[in-house]
């Protein structure tokens, strides 16, 4: 469409530029930019202002406060130490489970995958509460078992400590690491190891000298991912670390605003900015580290690997599997369930439903329950839909700026910890005239939670959409369907089963996202996450447990009913059942560390 064909001059050219299609595209870009980019712009601006929400003077006070605060250095070291320890333990644990299940005949090998999925999908805050109760030095399972045997609870046996924080986090992250590693481990070409054995190497040493180096790129990539997650995580350090005086970067940013005598918005913004830069550098470093490596397997075809009998070791490995499942999932789950039925936390002799009755009768908790349910379910739907559209447009679009923009947008929120996003959202929304009036309504929380969860949903959608060949879509276009119709009737339709799974998982993640809404909550608008967190901190542990158990139960029941209904409607309407492969729901659990 070159210029010289149009001789109509300026006006015609203007009309040509402003086709409805271009106007819609322009508006979409503006809306996306406001939702994704503006909060980051405001985060930067806010770091250099004296007072929050605009109107202040330019200053470097925020940075000065951070530099002069001894907690800054301590929390940085704590964050790196915590994240590093959790990463190493979890990678080792995940790798161990991935290897024993792919290599050996075990009686309980089948248990590992469902157990890891359950542990990985449990909302972090819920998991932190459960362990906070179980490892409570006075009232938890652990202390009570010792008491039963008349053993005094030793002072070190508490979950509110460095070892407690690291071990609990590691259990959860081990499940995530396993889910991310089991694919690469299963795909290892076993004949490469066989070749080393034929050269005189023992099987064990062949594994370490051949297979492990081949796994190195995967281990590095997953390790970096988990490390970045560890820097960002808020719930575990907030629930288990803060009572023991452990402060990480995420909890310090929260402390600046919510705990310190006067809220230090400038300092919070300044520290947030530093954290975002560090994380962006880590992500860049990761892509650089992986850039030059090409361990593409030569020859390719992996031999169908068979599992080996290993005699007495099988008993040991089986015991480890069952033990891990019991300690990392069954016991904490039982603890929070029983804890929610106690008149007050720690009284095991008498169980009651009074906490549940109180939750339902109390106006505030009931409101939080209802709005959290709606936000989790509706937000999950919005996140998956938005991410699907973004990734679909990214993979099908031929315009390079569009692809680049969408790619950046789908990654941008991942550079900021939830607590930082929370601050950025407050600044962004309060700086916008019309949106400002929505502050204090659940609506802003919904938007914030949607934006915050786009990166994980986008990664999941990438895996899902890739499985539908572009040619299916093109066939619809050739048959006369417009682009939207082709997207809806072919690609989206074929992706539906996987997208439903993604919806459920994202809804669970949203339900446990404490950090993102931390700054957006007001006394009148509470989510279950924020409300139960303050109840837990104020000592209403049994009631907090009841609230959260009820919420998770309702959420799962609600989602199950919804998904079941949709499956039923679709099957009835189309008369056939599309058995789509469950497309990598694993990728999305990565931020649920």
């Amino acid at each position: 469409m070159s210029e010289n064909i149009h001789e109509g001059g300026q006006l015609r050219r203007m009309a040509h530029l402003l086709t409805p299609r271009k106007i819609i595209t322009g508006l979409a870009v503006l809306v996306l930019a406001y939702l994704f980019v503006w909060p980051f712009v405001m985060l930067v601006i806010g770091a250099f202002l004296t007072t929050p929400y605009g109107g202040g003077e330019w200053t470097l006070d925020g940075f000065r406060t951070v530099l002069n605060d001894p907690r800054a250095l301590r929390s940085t070291l704590s964050s790196f130490l915590f994240s590093g320890l959790v990463m190493v333990i979890s990678i080792a644990g995940g790798l161990f489970f991935a290897i024993i299940t792919s290599r050996f005949k075990l009686r309980f090998g089948w248990l590992v995958l469902p157990a890891m999925v359950l542990i990985a999908c449990t909302p972090r805050l819920f998991y932190a509460f459960a362990w906070g109760m179980m490892g409570n030095p006075g009232s938890g399972f652990a202390a009570n078992i010792l008491r039963y045997f008349d053993i005094a609870n030793p002072a070190w046996l508490t979950v509110y400590s460095w070892p407690g924080l690291v071990l609990v986090s590691s259990m959860k992250v081990t499940a995530v690491a396993y889910l991310l590693l089991s694919g690469p481990v299963r795909l290892l070409d076993r004949s490469l190891e066989d070749a080393a054995v034929m050269c005189g190497q023992t099987r064990l040493r062949a594994f370490f000298s051949i297979s492990l180096p081949l796994l190195a790129p995967s281990l590095l990539a997953i390790g970096m991912l988990l490390f970045v997650e560890g820097i960002q995580v808020f719930d575990f350090p907030a629930v288990l670390g803060s009572p023991a005086g452990i402060t990480t970067l995420s909890t310090l940013i929260n402390d600046f605003i919510n705990t310190d005598v006067t809220p230090k918005w400038g300092a919070a913004n300044a520290l947030s900015l530093v954290v975002v830069v560090v994380i962006a550098l880590l992500i860049l470093l990761q892509s650089r580290l992986l850039g030059g490596r090409d361990f593409a397997t030569v020859g390719g075809k992996a031999r169908g690997a068979d599992t080996a009998e290993i005699g007495k070791f099988a008993v040991l490995f089986d015991a480890i599997i069952v033990g891990f499942f019991a300690v990392a999932f069954v016991l904490p789950f039982l603890q929070i369930l029983i804890g929610s039925l106690q008149p007050y936390f720690g009284l095991y002799t008498k169980l009651t439903t009074a906490n549940y009755v109180a939750v339902i009768k109390d106006r505030d908790t009931l409101d939080a329950l209802v709005s959290s349910l709606l936000i989790s379910v509706g937000g999950g739907f919005l996140v998956v839909t938005l991410s699907f559209l973004m990734i679909y447009a990214m993979q099908r679009s031929k315009s390079r700026p569009t692809v680049a923009l969408l790619k950046i947008l789908s990654w941008l929120p991942a550079t900021a910890p939830g607590i930082v996003l929370s601050i950025a959202f407050v600044w962004a929304y309060l700086s916008t005239p019309l949106v400002r009036s929505l502050y204090g309504t659940p609506f802003l929380m919904l938007i914030a939670l949607v934006i915050a969860h786009v990166p994980i949903a986008a990664r999941a959608c990438e895996g899902i959409i890739v499985q539908v060949s572009t040619s299916l879509d093109e066939a619809a276009r050739v048959s006369g369907a417009g682009p939207w119709r082709a997207a809806a009737e072919i690609t989206a339709r074929l992706c539906t089963p996987s997208l439903l799974g993604a919806w459920l998982l994202i809804s669970l993640a949203i339900s446990g996202a404490l950090d993102v809404v931390m700054m957006l909550q007001t006394t009148n608008t509470q989510m279950v996450a924020t409300l139960s967190y303050s109840m837990f901190n104020n000592g209403d542990v049994a009631e907090a447990a009841a609230l959260y158990v009820l919420f998770i139960g309702l959420l799962i029941a609600f989602m199950a009913a919804l998904i079941g209904l949709m499956m039923l409607l679709r099957t009835a309407a189309s008369g056939f059942h599309w058995s789509g492969k469950a497309a990598r729901p694993l990728a999305m659990e990565k931020t649920d560390v």
Partner: protein, 366 residues
């Protein structure tokens, strides 16, 4: 290396099942030192499982395997020498080169396992690389090499450990035809030069014939026939082996006469042909005469006198396959496919004589 002592190999009563599926049925065999054995069979016949059992990568359920005078596997005595202590060399089907190591590191690996110091390994690696013509590629990564070069690296690595016995799992099947022929010749030359014992698994009868001293044809986990390439290719024992080594035409008949080294077979249409055989048959026994398409000859019936050992037939179809013409002919109710150089000598529906050469193999029909 040229002073290596080759080793013999024997296995007896080898059985192996995966779940309910038996892949090796009571296999016994023995080869002399210096032999090149080809295990020949279609995919799924158990040949690779047998090779991997010899290597020690699979553990059979029953039987014994002896390499040289060492029993490396004895199910009864619960003895299983692990693969890394059997001192064998192996070339894997997809080469199994380690992508994170250079060609030099790949070849040096077995030397390292044998405790040869880093400083002393260089010479050996260079010599092995020269042996397979790769001395200028030592610093490359495997994925920077072509298929043929990868194959040579895999071979060099398998030889680096100075193995008494070399195992090759379909080593040539991923290469194009020209390269395959070239490497096949090189492989046989290496075997002769290094004087070792080799076992190669293949589904290609031509490859087996070109390489082997002994061919063992396998089907469904059983060795159907073994012997020299001439034995197996020219004197198949049964119809399965005959078909697998390229016989396409089978004529049913009964034995009607015998003399020294020759048997007369009468076909259902009454024609009688004589074939040379050592097979001990009885009068009236049902038999099959097997023939390759290019062994049979067609003669014009209008020419008058029937040629010796010929049967009457009719051309039913023909197809030009490059430089040869393939005729389809009906003989005594059976369809034969005959390849003839001469282009268009015979027409469809023409009555012809088809001469059966005396050296066509005779099989029992059961």
């Amino acid at each position: 290396m040229d002073t290596r002592t080759a080793t013999g190999l024997s296995f007896s009563g080898i059985e192996k099942s995966y779940g309910t599926q038996t892949v090796l049925h009571d296999i016994s065999f023995r080869i002399e030192p210096g032999t090149f054995l080809c295990l020949l069979g279609p995919s799924g016949c158990g040949k690779t499982t047998l090779l991997r059992s010899i290597a020690g990568l699979e553990e059979p359920d029953r039987g014994t395997i002896t390499i040289g005078d060492v029993t490396v596997f004895d199910a009864g005595a619960r003895k299983m020498v692990p693969a890394n202590r059997r001192g064998l060399g192996m070339v894997f089907q997809h080469y199994a080169l380690w992508p994170h190591m250079s060609v030099r590191e790949n070849i040096a690996y077995p030397l390292r396992q044998r405790g040869i110091r880093a400083g002393d390994r260089g010479g050996d690696v260079e010599r092995l690389a020269r042996l397979v013509g790769l001395e200028s590629y030592l610093e490359r990564r495997p994925n920077q090499l072509s298929g043929g070069q990868q194959q040579r690296v895999a071979l060099a690595r398998a030889l680096a450990g100075d193995p008494q016995l070399l195992l090759l799992d379909e080593p040539l099947s991923n290469l194009d035809a020209v390269l395959r022929h070239q490497l096949r010749r090189e492989l046989r030359a290496l075997h002769n030069r290094l004087g070792m014992t080799s076992i190669l698994v293949t589904h290609d009868q031509e490859e087996a014939a070109a390489l082997a001293d002994v061919i063992a044809v396998m089907q469904n986990g059983v060795i159907m026939q073994s012997g020299s390439p001439e034995d197996v290719l020219d004197r198949p024992d049964n119809r399965y082996v005959a078909e697998f080594v390229g016989y396409e035409c089978f004529l049913k008949g009964t034995v009607t006469g015998q003399s020294a080294g020759s048997v007369s077979v009468t076909l259902p249409n009454g024609a009688t042909v004589a074939v040379a055989t050592n097979l001990a048959v009885t009068q009236s026994e049902p038999v099959l005469i097997a023939a390759r398409g290019d062994q049979l000859e067609i003669f014009d019936k209008a020419g008058g006198v029937a040629p010796a050992n010929a049967v009457s037939g009719r051309i039913t179809d023909r197809a030009k396959l490059g430089s040869v013409m393939e005729y389809q002919a009906e003989v005594s109710g059976k369809t034969l496919w005959i390849r003839d150089k001469a282009d268009t000598r015979f027409r469809i529906n023409q009555d012809v004589w088809i001469r059966i050469p005396e050296n066509c193999p005779l099989l029992r029909d059961n």
